[in-house]
Structure formats: C-alpha cells, structure tokens
C-alpha cells in the first residue's frame, strides 16, 4: 500500500515546513513583549522600536503559519481518516481549543498592530500583547497535547473495536503531556531568541554599528541562554518520562540493546550488525538520564519484538539535537559572562559570526527534535493501539498532492524570505530613527 508511504512523506513535509513558522509564532510574541517591557520601564525608544520592527516581521511568519497550520489541520483527516475517526472520539477537545487560542491571538495581534500610536501611554498598548502571547503559547500547548496523546493514549477503553467510557480530560492529561508541552514551548522561546540574535549580529557585522543592535543582541542572547537551560532541564525530565512510559523510544534513540544497570550514554558512533562502534561513551549517563541514579536499570531493545522497535537512525537525530542545544547554551553563556566581565572577545567579528550561525543551527536542532519525536513513535500512530499503516488513507491521489504541496511550500518559503529581507533592507534602523525624529520632533537619538 504505497498510499501509506506517500501519506507519511506528505505529512512529514507539511509538519517540517509548518513547524518553522509555528515555532516563530509561539516564541516571537514573548520577545516582542520583553522588548516593549524594557522600552517602557527604562523609557528607551530603541527597545520600543525593536518591538515594533519585530512585530512587523512577525506578521509575515504568522500568515504562513496560519495557512500551513490549516493545511496540516485538514491533512490530518485527509491523509489519516482511520486515525482521526478513532482519535476524534477522544482527543478532539484540544484540537477544538487550539483553534480558539489562535483566534484569540489573531484578533489581538490585528488590534496591536493597528493601534501603535492610538493610546496616549505605551502601557495600554503593551497590555494588548498579553492576549497575543497567551494565545500563541496556548495554541502550542493544545496541539502538543494531541501529539502527546498519540504517544501515551489513555482516557478510554477499546473493547472489540468499540470505544467506551471516554474521558476527554484524562486523555488530555496523559503522562507524555507535561514534558512535551514544556519542551515545545521552552524551545519555541529559545529558537526565536537565537533567530533574532542572529539577525542583530548579522546587522552589526554588516557595518551598522548602532547601539540598537547591541541592545537587541544582549536581550536576545540572555533570553536564549535562559531557555537553552530550560530546554536541557526539560529534556532530562523527558528522558525520565520515556524510561518510565515509552522505553522503546529511549532505547532506540540511545542504541541501548541489552537491558542493563549503570548504562552508559552513547554519543554518535556507527552500527555494525548490532555492534556500536566509535561512539563516545559517557559511563552511567544513560542511567542518570533515565532514572536519576547511576546504577539504575535501563530497559533495552531486547525487550521489544523486532516489528515494534522504532527505526534506529533516530540516534543521530537525538545527538544532533543535543549537541546543537548544548553548543548554543555555551555560546550564550560565554556572551553573557563576557559582556558582564567586559571581555572584548565577545564583541569581536569572529564571535558575532558564531552568533549568526546559531540562527540556522537552532532550526536544525528544532527539526531534528521533531523528527526524533515523530519517527521515534513508529511503528505506531497511536502507541500500542493503531499502527501507522492502519491509519492511512486508501486514496490513490496522495503522490500528486505531494507534488502540489511541495511546490506550494517552496513558493511560501521563498516568498516569505524575499518579503522579510526587502522589508528590513529597504528600511534599516538608522533610517527609521531619522524618519521618526522628524515626525516626533527629534526626541530619540
């Protein structure tokens, strides 16, 4: 049945593209809020302008996020009708609430964008951002609840293919939910912080030595550091969740074949017929990750039948995600300490290029993380209940749709990059500050 294969490819393509804009959609409102908050508190026009320009770019990513979000929302039913028929009975509630959360955010974002100078003091305008940030974060929370349910389904009983005593709330508060939601929301803030930091660093490298960019860089890297730490902490907690409730996913991600105590953590390495070679071995680390004690026993892949184990390449996805995450944590820590201790090195061209590279890197680790989460759940679409192959559509037109959607995403991707570049290159900060000076009689330098 190749419609299963093509359904998986189209779903993965849509999710991989949508997640870029959705993550920005969840993370950037908090950054705008922080900038406007500092601008009001310290009465510093640069930060207000920072919030204003970020908001302008944010609208473009929201637009693409909306249309690709609608696409994946519909494709869930179009490509996975059997799954949605079953899941619809138990997990439709958060899907429904996600639409409300986004609608709430969209309305106040529209109002926020159009009332910049309509209020006498900025505070009232700042308050409009709260529903935007809340709506953005909660739409991520509700969608992640649905994804968590797929990994740890509960809140219903399946008796000879009949769904009985369904409890929607129990289904929502499944064991996978807290760690997944916190990791998704936390890394959304981290990704947005490093994206905006990369842009600021790039402008500084491009010769605009304006203090505005230095303030942006300092703010974004501090927030980036905080949420890198949060991502690492919650990542560790996720390891504890996996060991307890989804051991096969952790075991596959770690190439942990035999159930054993004081298990080492293997980074990278190559698989040679069941034998791990050239891996960096960190003794006891897997036991600590899984159960918090170096001698704890960690369940290996030997406990699971061959056809129930996830594909083993997710090991590399796990390593890419963790390596980049740790590197960015270190980079932002060095920058913060460097600015505090006045090391000139952190303001050097080389260091700024590292910050610029952290932009694309953070998105690579975002994609690696999501592929790990989705491929790691295989062969199930609803763990231990429905296999991915059973959930897919029987329609034969999926390949043609795959080509059409691939073209669409190409157009949307290129379109958004072109528009964003043109939007900010034609209107650099120096020029916008100068324009505002005539309008406001030169009250900002």
């Amino acid at each position: 049945m190749d419609s299963v294969f093509y359904s998986r490819v189209l779903t993965e393509l849509t999710l991989s593209f949508h997640i870029i804009y959705a993550t920005i959609g969840v993370g950037v409102p908090l950054m705008i809020m922080l900038a406007q908050w500092v601008g009001i508190k310290k009465n510093d026009e640069h930060y207000i302008l920072l919030a204003r320009r970020w908001a302008r770019g944010f609208v473009i990513t929201v637009a693409v996020g909306v249309v690709t979000g609608t696409a994946i929302g519909l494709q869930l039913s179009l490509l996975w009708p059997n799954f949605m028929e079953l899941a619809g009975n138990v997990i439709a509630l958060p899907l429904f609430m996600e639409t409300f959360a986004f609608f709430f955010e969209a309305i106040f974002l529209g109002i926020y964008l159009y009332t910049w100078d309509r209020f006498e003091n900025q505070k009232k305008h700042f308050l409009l951002l709260i529903p935007v940030a809340l709506g953005a974060s909660f739409s991520a929370v509700f969608i992640t609840i649905v994804n968590a349910f797929m990994n740890a389904p509960q809140g219903f009983n399946l008796v000879n293919n009949e769904l009985i005593n369904v409890n929607p709330l129990v289904a929502m508060f499944n064991p996978a939910m807290p760690t997944k939601v916190a990791h998704v929301v936390g890394t959304a803030y981290m990704t947005s912080a490093f994206l905006l930091a990369a842009i600021a660093a790039f402008r500084l490298l491009r010769g605009s030595n304006h203090i505005y960019h230095k303030k942006a860089l300092y703010l974004t890297l501090k927030v980036g550091f905080i949420f890198s730490v949060s991502a690492a902490l919650v990542g560790d907690l996720s390891g504890k969740y996996l060991a307890e409730y989804q051991p096969e996913k952790l075991a596959a991600a770690e190439w942990h074949f035999e159930t054993e105590e004081n298990a080492p953590l293997m980074l990278y390495g190559v698989l040679d017929d069941g034998e791990v070679k050239y891996a960096i071995k960190i003794p006891y680390a897997l036991s600590i990750l899984a159960h918090g004690s170096p001698t704890a026993e960690v369940i290996g892949l030997d406990q699971f039948p061959e056809e129930d184990t996830p594909p083993l390449y997710i090991h590399y996805l796990f390593d890419i995600m963790v390596t980049i995450g740790m590197t960015l944590l270190a980079l932002s820590a060095i920058f913060w300490i460097g600015m505090w201790r006045k090391w000139s090195f952190v303001e050097s061209r080389l260091f700024r290029w590292l910050i610029v590279i952290s932009g694309p890197l953070v998105f690579i680790s975002l994609e690696a993380g999501w592929w790990l989460a989705e491929v790691g759940r295989q062969p199930w679409i609803l763990r231990n209940i429905m296999r991915t192959s059973e959930g897919a559509t029987s329609s034969g037109q999926v390949p043609t749709m795959l080509v059409l959607f691939a073209l669409l995403y190409l157009v949307l991707g290129i379109g958004s990059v072109v528009v964003l570049r043109r939007m900010f290159i034609r209107n650099p900060v120096e020029q916008e500050i100068a324009d505002r000076q005539q309008v406001k009689g030169g009250d900002i330098q």
Partner: protein
C-alpha cells in the same frame, strides 16, 4: 519524586524561565554604558 519530575517539574521550569527573563532583560547597563560614553564623547 519521579511522578513530580515527570508531571509538574517541566511547567515550573518554563514558568521560571519566563519570569526570570522579565527581570534579566532590564539589566542592560553592560550595553548602555558604552552608549553614554559615546554621547558624552560627541557632546564634548
């Protein structure tokens, strides 16, 4: 303990991160210090 770690700790970590960010971003004297230096330079 394990139940706390899996079910409640994650939310506390993210919320702490958000609250911390609102305080930490206020302290930007490391950057603005050079701004005053610059403006003093131009005034003199």
């Amino acid at each position: 303990m394990n139940e706390f770690l899996i079910f409640y700790a994650p939310f506390l970590v993210v919320i702490a991160g958000i609250v911390l960010s609102f305080f930490v971003v206020l302290k930007d004297d490391a950057v603005t210090r050079s701004e005053y230096k610059e403006s003093e330079k131009t005034d003199v």
